[in-house]
Symmetry: C2
Subunit: 354 residues, 2 copies
């Protein structure tokens, strides 16, 4: 187990990001925590264990578990098992499991210890690092939550082996988003030159990809841990359009990453139309998404517009009541701007056939 | 409206503590917040308004409202009304209302603005300042919550006029606790010399009492905002015994302050028995509590011991599984110590009649 990155996050807390050599290395480290530990799995990651640890909560896999009822299940188990404030909650799974474990840890006795073991590419490069935890509420994504960085994030590439292609692409979309936001072009170049190795899930290439991706994320969040300075918000590139699509398609018809890929391309288009984004840059980035097979040409039906607009208006990035979108200027440079509703409609709705 | 104290609390956030001249002064200040505001009342404080503000949640008064269901009611209303991350939740009431408003504000969109208007003496000197918010869970007090200081705490002595004597004494117990923990004897002396003025609720005396009390609280919390250094925990004097009594009597048979008064006297006794507390000091402090009419000689029945011990064991102040008690050495000096179960039993149980 190697500590390869230390990120200083919300409230000055530090997250150690550690890479395990293999599953055995991972389990030795986890075993060292001792007894005062509560594990959170979902029905997928629970299967990875022949025998579950004594104190464990297994959530139904999927976004629908990101709710108050799952939260109460974890907290109840913590109380029943007499977990102390110096006890530890371990989230072992994808974004839903890590979000639930982190949110529960942040409020159990006003904060206990937290370790996250992300088992999807999406969670490795996104949810597990950065200290954001949340549940969905009233049909809206991540409406209720907290900032609570894990003290340790343990990454083991072996856990990616059983990931479906759809899940893998979900994560890759966030990696591409990070490549656009990066202050240098290294990650962008790896994505172009190592496409085949990435899709074949070559371990060394993936480690490189995850580390570079986390470096970008860290660059933004260390400057603005609780998203109050307008810097961290740039990581929401593609998420305003993306979340609205994800919400209107009832969480899961399209995966989070696929929606972010779609949303990023809509933001690139919007930027091009407004003269904010360099046209050549927008085209190159769109091509990169396409090369990995994302359905970025998808458009919503006219009948879905009202619901889509409704979800857009609930976005958390607001100023004076207007939703703000992250638009790219060029590599590594993004700005926050409101968009006219007419332009949004033009970008997301299927053109009428006659 | 005068800002009389600024406290730097959890995560470097500042709370402005402001005293209003009268209800009119208070309402002018509250009116200036504009529209993006959600109010939280309880059935008592809602009565103080001829007409409630347009966006308001009214909780049933009492400890039983400190639960997930009230939390969800506040959050639902916030979503329905489209409150933004730059919106404000105002808690107008006692400890329960302020705790619920603060906990909701801390997790709504991962944190929105918060103003607290404490309307009980207890809440003025305790819950409203310091950034601790929590709900009860599984029958245990304050098991789930967060650290989230209000940006403004507005105190208006006029709101104390309708307080019952029992409620008033609930708050006074925390004031006396602060007097013991103070680095000087000013507050202690006011309590002895101004007893009649205090019980008659003379406004000037009460302002003095609240300000001195908050100075003590601030001295402890500014050094240790999230209670990780063993300093802020001293403010829990009387609370380990007190919470166990409050929990076993099902929250409310005895008020919080009455339980804290009782618990502080048990801690003074424990310290005397162990030679930790100066005997003369313990006697003086016990006499001070008695002079205000607290039932500090109360003992639990033998049959209630198991439940009491169970609640004690759930206390959050634990080290290596052992519950820690705050014991006084002398004026302003406290220490954390585990106590033998036999001694605790001896201190809290009614002596057998034969």
């Amino acid at each position: 187990m190697k500590t390869v990155r230390t990120a200083t996050l919300a409230h000055g807390k530090q997250s150690q990001i550690m890479f395990a050599d293999d599953l055995k290395d991972l389990s030795v480290h986890l075993g060292n925590y001792g007894r005062s530990v509560l594990w959170v799995f979902d029905t997928n990651t629970a299967k990875l264990f022949k025998q579950l640890p004594p104190v464990a909560v297994v959530l139904e896999s999927g976004e629908s578990s990101k709710n108050f009822s799952s939260l109460e299940r974890i907290l109840s188990t913590a109380v029943e098992e007499g977990l102390g404030r110096d006890g530890r909650i371990i989230g072992f799974g994808g974004g839903v499991v890590c979000d639930m474990a982190a949110f529960a840890a942040s409020i159990y006795m006003r904060g206990c210890l937290l370790t996250l073991v992300p088992t999807t590419l999406l969670c490795m490069v996104d949810a597990s690092v950065g200290g954001k935890a949340a549940i969905d509420f009233k049909g809206l994504k991540n409406m209720v939550g907290s900032f609570y960085p894990a003290s340790e994030v343990l990454i083991c590439m072996d856990t990616l082996r059983t990931l479906s292609d759809k899940e893998f692409l979900n994560g890759l979309a966030e990696v591409i988003k990070h490549a656009l936001l990066s202050q240098d072009e290294e990650l962008y170049k790896v994505l172009i030159t190592k496409k085949n190795e990435i899709l074949a899930r070559d371990a060394d290439t993936l480690i490189k990809l995850v580390q570079l991706s986390l470096d970008v994320k860290r660059w933004y969040i260390e400057q603005d841990p609780t998203e109050t300075l307008g810097i961290r918000q740039m990581l929401n590139l593609g998420h305003t359009f993306g979340h609205a699509l994800e919400s209107s398609s009832h969480f899961g018809l399209y995966g989070h990453g696929a929606c972010v890929a779609w949303g990023t391309c809509r933001a690139l288009e919007a930027g091009s139309v407004l003269g904010v984004t360099e046209k050549a840059y927008a085209m190159g980035a769109t091509k990169l998404f396409k090369s990995f097979g994302y359905d970025i040409d998808y458009r919503i039906g006219r009948g879905d517009w009202i619901e889509f607009r409704e979800h857009l208006s609930k976005d958390k990035k607001k100023e004076a009541g207007k939703v703000l979108f992250v638009l790219m200027e060029k590599q590594g440079c993004a700005v926050l701007k409101p968009l006219e509703m007419q332009l949004i409609q033009h970008l997301v709705i299927a053109k009428p056939i006659f």
